[in-house]
């Protein structure tokens, strides 16, 4: 028959008596819980950002680059000789069943002029497949078509950053701009994409038909050659098959013998990003685990203080036993004290952790994500720490011999 409300009251009173000591003991838990929450928030923020970038890049994406890769993954002479052609791109779409869309690209940096505004940016020639590969929607206007590619029309799609710099608040669709002094008509504006995984502004771009780029803007040192081919596989599962099929096809088309190195490189961007996401998750766990160590240290602090408290209050324990406190009355009194310390520390730690994640993201610009799960876990864990590290002192107190405890000086 344990009187819980009174036991709780007794526990809180003795915590109040030693305010400074209680606060310092809690500090360990506060720092531990705060660190766990802030670290997990920073880590999940990074994961979330990578995931966001993966989807902004377009899903199930492969990139084919000219040049070779060594075993270590270092590209050799990439782009030094153009080895990829429009024909390669068409063949890939036609002959690789795992491929859903392709987009050959060819471009460079060019000066844009609209009215009295000018802006310098990357101009990419490509095919309508590009917007499918990149999962890139229109904000206004229309995409260019296969017909535009065939007849090399001078039409352009603008990214949001280009629109902001050349047109401000005006509607650019239907307006004309000059790229390298060649007049183009703006037919559409692309949706805002944000930063690429490499930290580039993806909206600072202009897209035109690939044939127009080759013939009118960037010359064709080797006619029909393209810089890069983007490929969208049918599904994530089809990525490896697509990679293999493309490799086989291009080796055949480029007449590469058994022992010869490829003159192209297929990069599985999605896989690279997924690996990055995975490692950022591992990183989050690692940060959380390191922070948990401080929570553990906080728990040991509680145990230490509770042991001191039991020794200091031996006489009090003796008095309580003399007037009828049973084993669990004494045990609960000290357990509740330890639990109150750790849970109060937990709550303050949560507040500290959440507010420091906010401070971190506003100061450094890193995104942070405070997950409710990490809050629940941190709170639960601090409770477990309190019970675990409070139990031994409580147990020790409850086993004192009444007469020895009463006589303790």
């Amino acid at each position: 028959m344990i009187n819980l409300p009174s036991t709780i009251r007794i526990a809180f009173r003795s915590l109040r008596v030693n305010k400074m000591r209680s606060a310092l003991t809690m500090l360990g838990i506060i720092i531990g819980v705060g660190a766990v929450i802030a670290m997990i928030a920073v880590g999940s923020g990074a994961s979330a950002r990578i995931a966001e970038q993966i989807s902004s890049m377009g899903s199930n994406l492969l990139i084919i680059l000219p040049g070779t890769t060594t075993a270590g993954g270092v590209r050799m002479g990439m782009g030094s000789q153009p080895t990829l052609s429009m024909g390669d791109a068409e063949a890939i779409l036609r002959e690789c069943p795992a491929v859903e869309a392709v987009a050959p690209t060819h471009g460079g940096v060019a000066q844009l002029v609209a009215g009295h505004m000018n802006w310098s940016t990357g101009v990419t020639g490509t095919t309508p497949g590009f917007f499918l590969v990149r999962d890139w929607q229109l904000a206004a206007g229309r995409y260019f078509t296969d017909q535009d590619v065939k007849s090399a029309t001078k039409v352009a799609l603008l990214g949001q950053t280009v629109v902001d710099n050349l047109f401000g608040d005006q509607n650019p669709v239907g307006q004309s701009i000059r790229i390298k002094n060649v007049p183009f008509q703006v037919i559409g504006v692309l949706e805002r994409k944000g930063q690429s995984p490499q930290g580039q502004d993806q909206d600072d771009a202009v897209y035109i038909p690939v044939t127009t780029a080759q013939k009118k803007l960037f010359g064709a040192q080797f006619p029909g050659m393209v810089r890069i081919i983007l490929v969208k596989a049918r599904s994530t599962d089809a990525l490896n098959a697509a990679e293999r099929q493309i490799g086989d096809l291009l080796r055949q088309r480029h007449h590469i013998g058994q022992k010869q190195d490829n003159d192209f490189t297929v990069r599985n961007l999605t896989q690279i990003m997924q690996t990055a996401e995975q490692s950022s998750k591992v990183m989050t766990l690692l940060l959380g685990a390191i922070a948990s160590v401080s929570l553990l240290v906080g728990g040991i602090g509680i145990m230490n203080i509770m042991l001191v408290s039991v020794t200091e209050r031996t006489r009090e324990i003796g008095i309580r036993m003399a007037i009828g406190a049973k084993t669990w009355d004494i045990r609960l009194q000290f357990l509740i004290e330890a639990l109150a310390l750790s849970l109060m520390g937990g709550v303050i730690g949560i507040i500290l952790g959440v507010s420091s994640s906010v401070v971190i993201s506003t100061m450094s610009g890193w995104p942070t994500v405070v997950s409710p799960l990490s809050i629940v876990l941190a709170f639960g864990f601090s409770g477990v720490v309190g019970i675990f590290f409070g139990f031994y002192p409580a147990y020790k107190a409850s086993l004192l011999n009444p007469i020895d405890a009463l006589r303790y000086e």
């Binding site: 009187n3 009174s6 003399a322 007037i323 406190a325």
Partner: protein, 256 residues
Amino acid sequence: MPQAKKRQQRLLADPLVAESLFAFKLVLTMSLIEAQDITKIYSFGDVELRALGGVSTTIEKGEFVAIMGPSGSGKSTFMNILGCLDKPTGGVYRIEGIDTKDLARDELAEVRNSKIGFVFQGFNLLSRTSAIENVELPMLYNGLAAKERHDRAREALKAVGLEQREHNHPNQLSGGQQQRVAIARALVNRAPIILADEPTGNLDTKTSEEIMNLFVRLNNESGITIILVTHEPDIAAYSRRIIRFKDGHIVNDEKK
């Protein structure tokens, strides 16, 4: 007549009847406190110290007993055993017929809670805790409701004449007042026995008299059994029986 006698014999031959008769006799003859050949030996390595060397006595309900004897004669050791705070090395101690050897730790706590009120020389109140909360303490451990606890604590404080000092902490009370709080705490669970080890040891003569008069009143009016240890004949004079200890033995036991 011989027929009735025969029937009685037949009845007594029934083991069930015999047993219940025996139990009944036991209850009738049962003493409140019964100590048989109690020993307490402290050993320090090879050296043994016989604090009690075989103490036997019985104390009935309603008695007022003073235990006297020189310092170190085993009075406190005996009191602690009576109060179930300590266990004897040998011998049998029964309280209300229950052999304390058979009781587990928590059962002993229950005996202390319900049967015994302690009054110590050093008061042993919880500091930083008001008088009334100190008095409520024993009731925290037997599941009384808060309201009942409070009422009974006030009643007990009133019985010792401290109704005005409910909210004072021990360090705001005189020695005599602190001892009265301790007595109120001993009373509050309506325990039949009060054990007081030199309750006036730290008090001046006048305060000692007040405390002793309080004990006499509790003994007379409520029939509470009082066992107290004292050095002073003046204090022992309030009792109706004096047990004298020497070297761990009872050397004299006289009733007035």
